[in-house]
Amino acid sequence: MQAVSLGEEADGTLVLTLCGELDFTNAGTVAAVIREAVAGHRPPAVRIDVAGVGFLDSSGVGVLVQGLQSAEEVAARFAVVNPGDKVYDQLRISGLLELFNVSGAPG
């Protein structure tokens, strides 16, 4: 993982942008960043942009699941957006497309 960046939209949506490979080597750190950001901001919605994520292993999927749970704790809507082919495939196999509100196949 090269970077996690945080942003906030006008309606209060917390946007987390992830870049690089999300795997067992950085899962703990990234999960903590997301958890603290969500708990700190208590936004109405959380969006995780994974356009820059090239690879996701099972620990990486776990990070996104923890993001979903953090959002549920503050009753925020949750979405994972812009997955590339591999990440989309990984989320499809994990049965998470619906839970993560991933809309449409990658284009």
Partner: protein
Amino acid sequence: MDGNRGYAQRLAELGAKIEKARLSPEIVCERAAGLLAGRSGCRIDDAHSHMRLLATQQGSDVGTVAASVIAALETGLPLTTAGLFTTRSEERPEPEPRRPAPPHDVIDLPGWAAVAQQMLDVLPGRHIVVSPQRDDDGRVVDYRFAAVSPSMVDLAGRTGAQLVGDRVSTVYPEIVGGPVWRAWSDAVADGQARTVAPVSYVHHDDGHATEHVLTVHVQPVGAGLLNTWVRQDEPGRLADRIAQTERLGLLGWGEWDLVTDATVWSDGLYRIYERDPADGPMPREESDALGLPEDEAHRRHAAEAFGRGETVDVTTRAVINGRVKWLRAVIDAVRDTDGRPVKIYGIIQDVTVRETSRRKLAEVEEQLREHRQSLATEHRVATQLQQIVIPIPDAPIELPGLRVGVRYLPAEQASRVGGDWYHAAACGDGSIILAIGDVAGHGLHAATTMATLRHGLAALAVTTTGDPASLLTHLNQLIFLAGPGATIATATGVVARYEPDTRRLTWAQAGHPAPLLARRGATAELPRPEGPLLGASRRATYATATCTLEPDDLLVLYTDGLVEHRSRSLRDGVAQVAALLDRILAAGEPEPMEAFLTRLRRANPDDDTCVLVAGRSP
């Protein structure tokens, strides 16, 4: 005499302190252990153990053994052990240190010049003796170098020995007729000493001219004149250098004259003890009281070494203005001919920064070592746990109507082991439950979740339900039981139920790759029913799919380590595995299940991989 008695008393106090240090039982033991270790080449710890063993065998205490060890080992050594500072008040010791006698190889040379040279050879400082050269009328016309200090190097780099015998007018023509020259003439005439200052001396070297300001003391000696040359900037330069050294090195020095009881501290020492120089040196009782009690043993060692006449080098802590400082002290004494100290001097260095960082480093190293150890332990436990939870069979398991083969490919790194599991067993109603699962993450946490899921499944299949979708729903709930605050583990899995009577396979999955089915030479993924991974949502539901196994069908359940790779898609990974199975079946190998399991290669070296193959019994 009062001063005499005072010195005797101070000596006696010092002696008592050293004696006390020497007699301390810990010191005796430490010293004996040190001697023993040094003599035998063993470790200090081993020496201590050996002495304890001796004490037990002899029925005595360690202190006695240590004392006898010292007595035995010290025999023949020139170590003084008692009465170092026995004082006789009627004998006043020489207060001045005795210098080693100079070599006497020049003493028989004739003439006063030889005597002068002999004196300069042993006299500190830089001096020149010149002898006046007279003409036939007895007038002084020049001077000749009669003796020069051996340490003398003039501004042109000429050494003392090179100058002796030369005429001054030849070597230093600039001097002729100058103020020094005139002072010499006057001193020769009236026999009185004089000082000439300032004397400006311009030195030419490779076209560069440097000016030096000198002070010259002229003293008539015998037939000649003794000259002492001092660069005027020299005393100042030396003081500056010392002050600079003290500041840069956080150094200070102190002196204690035992005869006069005078104590002198340098500026650096005042800085170290954060004391106003106007208050004078700190009384010794006061500075002694600053030491931490924990360092008592070090101080005793040091006192004892001092008593043996050694230079002490000890680092101890002192509380100065409420702050602990690490102070390194190098202490030595000027002693009289009987070895009794006359003057004690010490250099103190504030090594707090160095000690603190050294100790922090040691702490970090220790933490790293513990961390490595705990990691190693965790890996070992995780691996063992996995072996206990999922013992991998060497040969296919024969179940009613079904043969099941299993292969486990551990991750390349031991630390990456943990998390993959399988299950293959008949449940009470005659059906067979097959399952494979993968817990995200590695190590002890993953292995624990794996054990929970695997055993949970085995129990639920026998007691509660044989329905794969219901079983996954229960496992999902089990994962959420980890408790509030705990990180919820995530896991994926496939659960299948095979009924031997109808050959029907019912299966469900939780975020897991679909099983592969090899049928009539073609291997493909089974169409996958819905189901999110375990641990994603408490409300997750799972759907089932069914198929019927034909006689030569092979069903492959696997974890994603088999097909997942950073640089290619999952689809490619699955296609490779399917192609391998197709090749084996096309070759008509007699035991295709075994052949397939043997030839499997892990796609992802970072992940462990579990593969389960099932086929109808012949």
